[in-house]
């Protein structure tokens, strides 16, 4: 029998946050607090070379003198950095064969819908799974290796490809970039590294799955994607965390480098635990994501943000090369007491550079959802073009939707368009659906899906379905 809307309704009724379980796994967690010794300890646990440790220590020195930024339109109890543990790893790692992986962990992966066996081979997604702070398993490494593609955990990359890591790490997001980037640079535990050689088109979607399991830990991972000349890669990222009463910190860095003619497509479905109905608990998601485009290169960010108690995230493109293209497609949903301050930065440096920004915000409950974006056309960026559209949808009279665009033009040939609208779902639209026998809840789902379609269309197929469902779940019960 086909899956009907009634089934969906039933499913929704029982859905709160289905990833809120914890996995009972023995883990190796270092004591709380942060100081230089902790940084050294993390580095030594990962058996890192001296240059890596130096990099961390330098970042830590910078971080110590920085203050937390407060300009974002969010309000939350401050993170107590001395009460967090900065490293937690599932114990008993040993040789990383699928068979050896802790059965508990396998079960977790199954629950999350990521299985690394043949099933997934059919869908053609290579996955790197980061559990708490450590990358657990990367699939399809051999197959990718044949093409010269390197896809592994960040710590493996530090061991096996130090020349690449050294050359590119921190070039896009320097340690001094901002408070959370500096913190991440000092204490990052793991993450993913990906290198696509010249002229290679990566045959499958590469994917990272992040999971925070342990209580009182922060997760700090780094992703570095380097696409060499004329290559192509599509990269996915997903995140979940258990439901806990306290707030947990997630401060990641993503760096993308698209060399001449390369294209990187980076998609995120962010579904960290958003806290309960009263705004208790949830993840603080403070992420720095940035990519650089050389000549004729293209970077496309797509994100579906439904989770996290507080989000602070601006995936950006530096359009350095001539004819390069930057894109940003985003759906950000906030419900209950969630707060999101998200957007993008498009920095046009090269000639004939183009950027497109489509941002769709949905706020419900008591939440606040802000778009904050920068479009900067510099003096030498002749014939630069930008189109920005940010729409906000309000559901309920206790929530807020805000738009803070910064538009800076320094070149007379620049063409910049920006438009934004804020409104609620029209009663006439709902009425139209009602009179055709669609009840209000379904009508709203229908309208919201249509509203987000422009962005969801940009997601890889498997993710698009998941994202659509996520939207429904996130907005469940938000309409009267």
């Amino acid at each position: 029998m086909a899956y009907t809307e009634d089934d969906l309704e039933k499913e929704l009724e029982n859905q709160e946050y289905k990833y809120g379980f914890t996995t009972d796994i023995e883990s190796d967690k270092i004591p709380v607090g942060i100081n230089e010794d902790v940084v050294r300890l993390i580095s030594s646990k990962k058996n890192e070379p001296q240059w890596m440790l130096d990099y961390r220590l330098k970042a830590f020195a910078v971080w110590k003198d920085m203050v937390e930024p407060e300009w974002a339109h969010v309000n939350y109890p401050k993170v107590k950095f001395q009460e967090l543990s900065y490293y937690s790893a599932p114990k008993a790692q040993g040789e990383k064969k699928w068979e050896d992986i802790d059965p508990e962990m396998k079960a977790t992966m199954d629950k999350l819908g990521i299985s690394m066996d043949e099933q997934k081979a059919l869908s053609g997604v290579a996955v790197d799974f980061v559990f708490d702070s450590v990358s657990v398993k990367t699939s399809f490494q051999d197959k990718l290796g044949d093409l010269g593609i390197i896809f592994c955990s960040f710590s493996e990359a530090v061991q096996n490809h130090p020349e690449l890591v050294k050359k590119y790490m921190g070039t896009i997001v320097p340690t001094t970039d901002n408070f959370y980037a500096a913190l991440n640079s000092a204490v990052f535990s793991d993450g993913s590294f990906c290198y696509i050689p010249k002229g290679v088109r990566c045959p499958m979607e590469l994917s990272t799955y992040f999971r925070i399991n342990e209580a009182n830990t922060g997760q700090f991972e780094r992703t570095l994607v380097v696409a060499d000349e004329d290559s192509y890669v599509s990269y996915l990222e997903g995140c979940t965390a258990p439901a806990r009463d306290e707030n947990q910190l997630h401060a990641a860095i993503v760096e993308l480098i698209a060399m001449d003619g390369a294209e990187i497509k980076y998609s995120t479905v962010q579904n960290w635990y958003p806290g309960d109905e009263d705004g208790k608990g949830g993840i603080y998601n403070f992420v720095t994501k940035r990519g650089i485009c050389h000549n004729n290169a293209k970077i496309s960010w797509t994100q579906v943000e439904t989770g996290s108690a507080v989000t602070w995230k601006y995936p950006s493109c530096i359009l350095k090369g001539d004819n390069s293209i930057g894109e940003f497609y985003s759906v950000a949903v906030t419900n209950n007491h969630q707060q999101a301050d998200t957007g993008t930065k498009m920095i046009h440096l090269g000639k004939n550079t183009k950027s497109t920004i489509i941002s769709k915000g949905i706020s419900a409950g008591y939440s606040n959802n802000s778009y904050r974006g920068l479009v900067q056309i510099n003096k030498n960026a002749s014939n630069a073009r930008n189109f920005t559209q940010c729409d906000s949808l309000l559901m309920g009279d206790q929530c807020g939707a805000h738009t803070f665009p910064y538009i800076e033009a320094k070149n007379s040939t620049a063409k910049i368009e920006h438009e934004a609208t804020t409104s609620k779902i029209g009663e006439d639209q709902i009425f139209y659906c009602n009179q055709r026998g669609i009840n209000t809840e379904k009508a709203i789902n229908l309208i919201v899906n249509g509203y987000c379609k422009e962005v969801l269309n940009k997601l890889p197929m498997e993710f698009a379905v998941e994202a659509q469902k996520l939207l429904e779940i996130s907005l469940e019960g938000s309409v009267g």
Binding site: L394, M395, D397, P405, Y406, K410, S412, K415, E419
Partner: protein
């Protein structure tokens, strides 16, 4: 010893010769409070979000004089064909001998210094300007010299417009003028304020106007900034709207080394309409910054904002518009538009249209564009025998004029049109 003074102190030192001893206790107390507030404030730096694109170093790192002037010829500054009451301020002081007022029943027009003897001013004066954490506002609160007081009684319609000529003359002069405009219930009034500079370099005008729009009232305020290229102007309008009222402000800025317009409108009642429009034409090294805030606090209101800029040479334009829609302000329609044309690669424009919305049953939108004159339109005109130069002129004129369509005083609209045309004929 001067080296030990902070920037704020040296600016304030310029003002120390001002004597306000003849004011009554109530206003002396307000000045003292403002001075105390000033102690806690600093001049904005590049890190001050609200002043992100405007550096005030050039203004505050100088010392200024207070200069009372006897007589000047105001005829060149009158608007041709305009039948209006003329009110003249020179360097921040009222000139009765140059002003020409036709008395009308129900309308009180006085220099502010005299209006301070009226009991009804107490409740209003400074009510929109105290503790706003804006340093230039606080300076004006503490040290304003004189200004214009216009009060239109309930059910009164002003038959003639009021034209305030706010003139500076001499070098390094600071002028701290202060206006209060009160529109009573169901009243109507139109005000024009021209900011003009006669000779003289590096003058600094720090002007504040408090405007109260009563129930059912209709107030139009037009502001023309036409000073020479090396003058500084920081101007603040604080506007308060009551139920069913209509407020329109038009700002035309033709030049100025640093011009900053702060416009804050509190719409604190239902069924109000607010129109804000502006035109800024930058040339040489002008820096023109328009900051507007419309705060919708109650339901069923409309606001409409259009700002347009044409920036030539090495000029910089800044637009920062903010619309707040508070939780109570359901059924608000707010619209915000900013269009810019850059004529050279050395010109700059920074646009920041912002929406902050806490109510759901609203229709709010904003648009911002930066670009050039459409090549195809130019080609079309050329193909009909119009030279490229003239075609450009025609297009820019059309673009610019559109921004001030809300001006209801014909003579003023014509005057501004002529000024725009003159600018692009050069």
């Amino acid at each position: 010893m001067i080296a030990d003074l902070t920037k704020k102190d040296s600016l304030l030192a310029s003002l120390s010769s001002l004597n306000f001893s003849d004011e009554n206790e109530y206003f002396a107390d307000l000045r003292n409070k403002a001075k105390a507030e000033l102690e806690t404030l600093e001049f904005p730096t590049s890190k001050t979000e609200y002043w992100k694109y405007t550096r005030v170093g050039k203004i505050v790192n100088k010392s200024y004089n207070i200069a009372k002037v006897e007589d000047i010829d105001i005829t060149p500054y009158l608007i041709p064909g305009l039948n209006a009451n003329i009110l003249v301020l020179v360097n921040g002081f009222y000139k009765a001998n140059l002003s020409k007022i036709d008395a009308q029943d129900g309308i009180t027009v006085l220099p502010l210094s005299e209006a301070k003897n009226l009991a009804q001013l107490n409740a209003k004066f400074c009510s929109l300007t105290t503790n706003k954490e804006e340093v230039f506002l606080a300076v004006n609160n503490a040290y304003h010299t004189d200004g214009i007081y216009i009060e239109v009684a309930n059910n009164t319609i002003a038959t003639k417009a009021y034209h305030i000529l706010n003139i500076t003359t001499g070098n390094n002069v600071i002028a701290l003028s202060r206006n209060v405009i009160i529109g009573g219930k169901s009243s109507q009034v139109k005000v024009i304020e021209s900011f003009i500079n006669e000779n003289g370099n590096e003058n600094f005008v720090n002007n504040v106007s408090e405007i109260f729009v009563g129930e059912n009232a209709n107030v139009e305020y037009n502001k023309i900034q036409d000073k020479s290229n090396d003058n500084y102007h920081i101007s603040t309008e604080q506007v308060y709207q009551e139920a069913n009222s209509n407020f329109t402000i038009n700002t035309a800025t033709f030049n100025g080394a640093i011009v900053r317009n702060n416009l804050n409108i509190w719409v604190d009642a239902s069924n109000c309409e607010t129109n804000l429009s502006g035109l800024y034409l930058g040339q040489n090294k002008d820096h023109i910054d328009n900051h507007t805030v419309v705060d919708h606090m109650k339901p069923n209101c409309n606001s409409n904002e259009v700002y347009k800029g044409v920036l030539d040479h090495e000029s910089t334009g800044v637009f920062n518009g903010k619309v707040f829609v508070r939780q109570d302000a359901q059924i608000t329609n707010a619209f915000q538009q900013n269009n810019n044309i850059l004529l050279t690669d050395t010109a700059n424009v920074n646009s920041k249209p912002e929406l902050e919305i806490y109510a759901d049953d609203v229709k709010c939108s904003h648009g911002s564009t930066t670009g050039q004159i459409d090549e195809e339109a130019i080609f079309y005109l050329q193909s009909r025998g119009i030279s490229k130069r003239n075609a450009m002129k025609l297009m820019i004129n059309a673009f610019a004029k559109d921004a001030l369509a809300n001006i209801s005083i014909t003579a003023l609209a014509d005057f501004i049109d002529t000024k725009i045309e003159e600018r692009f004929t050069k």
